[in-house]
């Protein structure tokens, strides 16, 4: 293994803002939790898939996979909610309003999905 030649021993710049640290943790751990849930779902599905078609356990495994996927889709939404909360606490009303507006547009996207013509996936 080659070692890094220039190791930055100290960071002379200003310390990390709490919002950045919070967001980094949320996205980092959120990604691993969602990935783990999907992996567990697949292991369960693989174990039970040999025994027959549409076994209740197979369905359970797939449902766990779906849960992981939903968590992935929710992760950016949670990130927006966190930003909304932090901006609000900092009394930065303009930016909390912007975060809320983005949340509203994302929500509108989900509602739109329900009313689209049901032709696409089949």
């Amino acid at each position: 293994m080659k070692r890094a030649i220039s190791t930055p021993t100290s960071t002379p710049t200003s310390p990390l803002a709490p919002l950045e640290r919070l967001l980094a943790s949320l996205l980092h751990y959120g990604t691993w939790v969602a990935s783990l849930i999907i992996a567990v779902g697949f292991v369960l599905t693989l174990i039970h898939t040999n025994s027959g078609v549409s076994h209740p356990e197979t369905m359970l495994g797939m449902r766990i996979v779906t849960t992981g996927i939903v968590l992935f889709i929710l992760l950016p939404v949670l990130r927006l909610m966190l930003m909304f909360g932090v901006f609000l606490r900092e009394r930065d009303y303009r930016f909390s309003a912007i975060a809320a507006l983005v949340l509203l547009i994302v929500a509108a996207g989900c509602v739109t999905g329900a009313y689209l013509a049901p032709s696409m996936a089949g």
């Binding site: 930055p8 002379p12 710049t13 200003s14 990390l16 803002a17 919002l19 950045e20 640290r21 967001l23 980094a24 943790s25 996205l27 980092h28 990604t31 969602a34 990935s35 999907i38 992996a39 779902g41 697949f42 693989l46 898939t49 197979t58 797939m62 996979v65 779906t66 992981g68 996927i69 939903v70 992935f72 889709i73 992760l75 950016p76 939404v77 990130r79 927006l80 930003m83 303009r94 930016f95 912007i98 975060a99 507006l101 983005v102 547009i105 994302v106 929500a107 509108a108 996207g109 989900c110 509602v111 739109t112 999905g113 329900a114 689209l116 049901p118 032709s119 696409m120 996936a121 089949g122």
Partner: protein
Amino acid sequence: MDIGFTIWLFAISIGASALGGMLGMASGIFIVPILTVFGHLNIHVAIGASIVSVIACSCGGAAPFLRARLTNIRLAVVLEIATTLGALCGVLLAGIIPVSALFLLFAAILLLSARQMLARRGDPIDTSAPVRSGSWAAKLRLDSSYPDRALGRDVAYRVQRVPMGMALMYGAGLVSALLGIGSGVLKIPAMDTALRLPIKVSSATSNFMIGVTAAASAGAYFVHGDIVSAIAGPVALGSVVGAVLGARILMRVSNEKLRGLFVAILVLLAVQMLLQAFGINPFGASA
């Protein structure tokens, strides 16, 4: 569920994501063509799976950028108004646009990416333009600074032409929703030409925004039933693994060789998507 197909999906997603991660591209641009051309999947199912993996890669890759203070969070949330609105329109269009047009548009985006890969990106020169008190950037306090390791100090930068940046971001959001990609191809010109951000800041901020943009369309596609767990699950998982691997390999492979390989793959996939648009699939049954 077909175990062989699941493993194939997992494997190609690792490959696509590792390859994309090495040059700072989302894996979506490879995943949709591979799933439709070689996996014979419906393009809407492929887009649904891809958009989830785009979120996974964005969220998985965001933490190091945030910790390095490269992400401009304030600018990101302002631009997200435009990208999510674009995504919303993309979702509406996705149901109307004929499948062959989607393939054509995809081919065009692939070729555009190839061209962009060949052109060198440089930091915009005038990052210290005079302050315009009436500008959006001044009103919203978007100007910021980032720590430059090479210089060992913070480098201040100004955000310019926000309205033009917003307009380009709207287009990026629309294409992202329509094709299930992160559409970095369209975000890069917006960041470089309009907003004039330093490259490190624009890569970090663009990656950060991609998750929210994709969530707007992924939510719609999920509710609509286009996101099939048996497909989207292994693709998302493979993409996360691939992104981790890609970041490791990045440090060992020459950038020039990679660039050449990348352009070749992009052109090849563009040709396949063009053929697909006209109903020709040289790899068996047409999707």
